[in-house]
Amino acid sequence: MSLPPKPPERSTRRDLERYASLFSERTRGMTSSAMRDLMAVTDRPEVISLAGGLPDTSSFPPETFADITARIAEESCARALQYGPTEGLPETKRCIAEVMAAEGMTVDTDDMIVTTGGQQVLDLVAKTFIDPGDVIVAEGPSYPGALNAFQAYQADVVQIDMDADGMRIDLLEETLDRLEREGRRPKFVYTVPTFQNPGGVTLSLPRRRRLVEVARERELLVLEDNPYGLLRYEGDPATTLYSLDGGVYVMYLGTFSKILSPGIRLGWVVAPPPVLARINLGKQEADLCTSTLSQLLVQAYFEHHDWQEYIASLTEIYRSRRDTMLDALAEYFPPQAEWTRPAGGLFIWATLPEFIDTTDLLARALRDNVAFVPGEGAFLDGRGRSSMRLNFSGSDEARIVEGIRRIGEVIKEQVALYGTLTGEPQPDAEERRAIEKAASDETTESEGARVVELPRRAARNRRARES
């Protein structure tokens, strides 16, 4: 018997150089970050994490899962184990059409491709449109996973401020004018108009109409990302950009992740035929086809179970968790903090006084075993450093209250410390309320505008402070 060859000694420098010199220019932007390393500490069991974006999969009935898998085993085992068409199975596409119909959209199943999660749509659309240096317009703050997908193709992402009514379309138009003067034509506008991640706000109907008009006037594509539209806890359903536009300039991204399961990795894209053909080629080259097994799971589930009823039960759970978090915020966060009040979705975006850096605050909060997502990852220009994203879907109500209480304590500690350091004690809750009351007696400022404002943080200040 001969011994296996001795593994060669690893050479540090050779390791480094061997790989580093081969990396593509593109991946130079893909660095891990301090924030990501901090996030690694948040998955300890003793940490109450309000950081994730996790749907509550424990509410899915195991009997239902057993039933649909048994059906697949009996009825379509060979097919489930086989490759499928790149664009997806026709029966799964019919389920997708049903989901879109539930949000008032009519769609032809020929106009869609079933993808490996919504995230793949971001990658495929980016791959289809972005050359290095191309401009992509997005909201600020924006979903970091989308920013990463666009940056992987070396896009120059320009972020547009939001307020309580979503993206400021007036600012969008100003930005588009400026870009035009610079001779740069954005490839598309990326938006999560309904229950935005991480902002929690929803684009108003007048702004939706205007956005679609702007797209037509300027022949500009829009990528509407709508993972949360069906998770509405109050108010009337929003009209999607896709319905308003009819699918000429608006490409639509949907996913089963938040309404059924993120584990099955199933999403879809609807786009005009020429665009879809390109995306299809990209998809073919990326993974040939989306998991047939996952597609059949959805098909069996839709055929034999009431998917809308499950969403109704999720909505029930999440609504009450959202209310619990909003109540806890009002009780435990100091008066200097502001936060959005989402009518649906999974997230609340809270903004603290400018002197608090939420990445550093996270390090402090982790000592008290609680975590959130610092806001810096949602911007590419250094803004967001005083904000945080809080998730209410993934924790039960007792943990939400305790988590918010702990975060509130560390914020108060820092507010008090700052007051001591500057010699200007920050007003406590009582005083602040009195001041505000006096102010509101004089002005007619609406309550909504104050609470949901997403303050702009000058990037310049941050650089000056830190560089």
């Binding site: 690893r10 540090t12 420098r13 130079r28 932007g29 690694a40 002197f355 850096d357 605050l361």
Partner: protein, 321 residues
């Protein structure tokens, strides 16, 4: 062949880096023919060590608990030989304020500084002394937590208005912070390795860290936490291109710092090379990183010591304390 337990991970903020250091050490120990047990440090640490009965423990932890003497104290209690510095040296190196006081006493140059704990501000009105400090140190001022091992929480205050928020940030990591005079210059690191066979410790070739332009095209002028561990963000030059006299002086200062803190086995001393070739010591690390991008392995290699050899030497030093 020994049975070696590699301690890694743990709850510190540098968990990820430690997991990477630990994994590399495990591979090297296996190649060296040892029996290796990797332990992600948690509440079951003592139980696991008692159950695994290792002959020796390789401590590949970074940051709080692992690098500050806490874990070392536990290993002393269990009577297990372990790599790296002992309890007291770890505590001294981890506490930048204490380390800097010791340097000053020993005549090792270190940037001028003032340190405070939160109590000083809360109960003794230290905020009123800030203007005097700012005048003494001149802007920009570096504000840092006393005990954070990485660059987390380090802020640069350009004006007096930046100081309070920089202090709040630093206090997120530690109850004690320091305000330090900023040295505009080159970032150097000197790694130290046990000499073996009773020889005195060896200063390895100097590494210079040069931040490269960020992918966005914007130059980073601060060697930050991210760059410290990522390929592509910082370029490391080893041996650093320095006049012979500067190299010698940097190595000599690093050795003096290592010895005055009482370090053992290995370590790394970070220095700044300011104007007029003036060197000053910023801090010492009792358990330097051992990842692909870490400075100690690079310096060792420049000295002709491969990674396995490096790990073997550090392991041997566990028995010579």
């Amino acid at each position: 062949v020994s049975r070696v337990a590699v301690l890694k991970g743990g709850p510190s903020l540098e968990r990820q880096v430690s997991l990477r250091s630990g994994a590399r050490v495990e591979d090297a120990l296996e190649r060296l023919g040892h029996e290796v047990v990797g332990i992600d440090v948690g509440t079951d640490l003592i139980r696991r060590l008692r159950a695994e009965r290792p002959d020796v423990v390789f401590v590949a932890l970074h940051g709080r608990d692992g690098e500050d003497g806490t874990v070392q104290e536990l290993l002393e209690i269990l009577g297990l030989p372990y790599t790296g510095s002992g309890v007291a040296a770890c505590a001294r190196a981890m506490d930048k304020v204490l380390a800097k006081h010791l340097m000053i006493e020993a005549g090792v140059p270190t940037p001028e500084f003032f340190a405070f704990n939160q109590t000083a501000f809360r109960e003794l009105g230290a905020a009123e002394a800030l203007p005097a400090i700012e005048e003494r140190l001149d802007f920009p001022i570096v504000v840092k937590p006393s005990s954070q091992g990485s660059a987390l929480g380090i802020k640069f205050a350009r004006t007096a208005a930046d100081v309070p928020s920089a202090l709040v940030a630093a206090f997120s990591y530690d109850a004690k912070v320091l305000l330090e005079r900023y040295v505009d210059g080159r970032d150097l690191a000197v790694s130290i390795l046990d000499g073996g066979d009773g020889q005195s410790p060896l200063a390895l070739p100097v590494v210079e860290a040069v931040p490269t332009a960020a992918p966005g095209g914007e130059g980073e002028d601060f060697y930050d936490f991210e760059a410290r561990y990522d390929i592509g963000r910082t370029e490391f030059i080893c041996p650093a291109r320095l006049p012979e006299a500067v190299t010698q002086r940097a190595q000599e200062l690093a050795l003096r710092t290592y010895e005055l803190l009482g370090c053992h086995g290995f370590g790394r001393v970070d220095l700044m090379l300011g104007p007029d070739d003036e060197l000053s010591v910023l801090e010492a690390n009792s358990i330097p990183g051992l990842t692909e991008t870490s400075l100690l392995p690079q310096a060792a290699e420049a000295a002709g010591i491969g990674f396995d050899d490096l790990v073997a030497r550090v392991l041997a030093s566990a028995f010579t304390r």
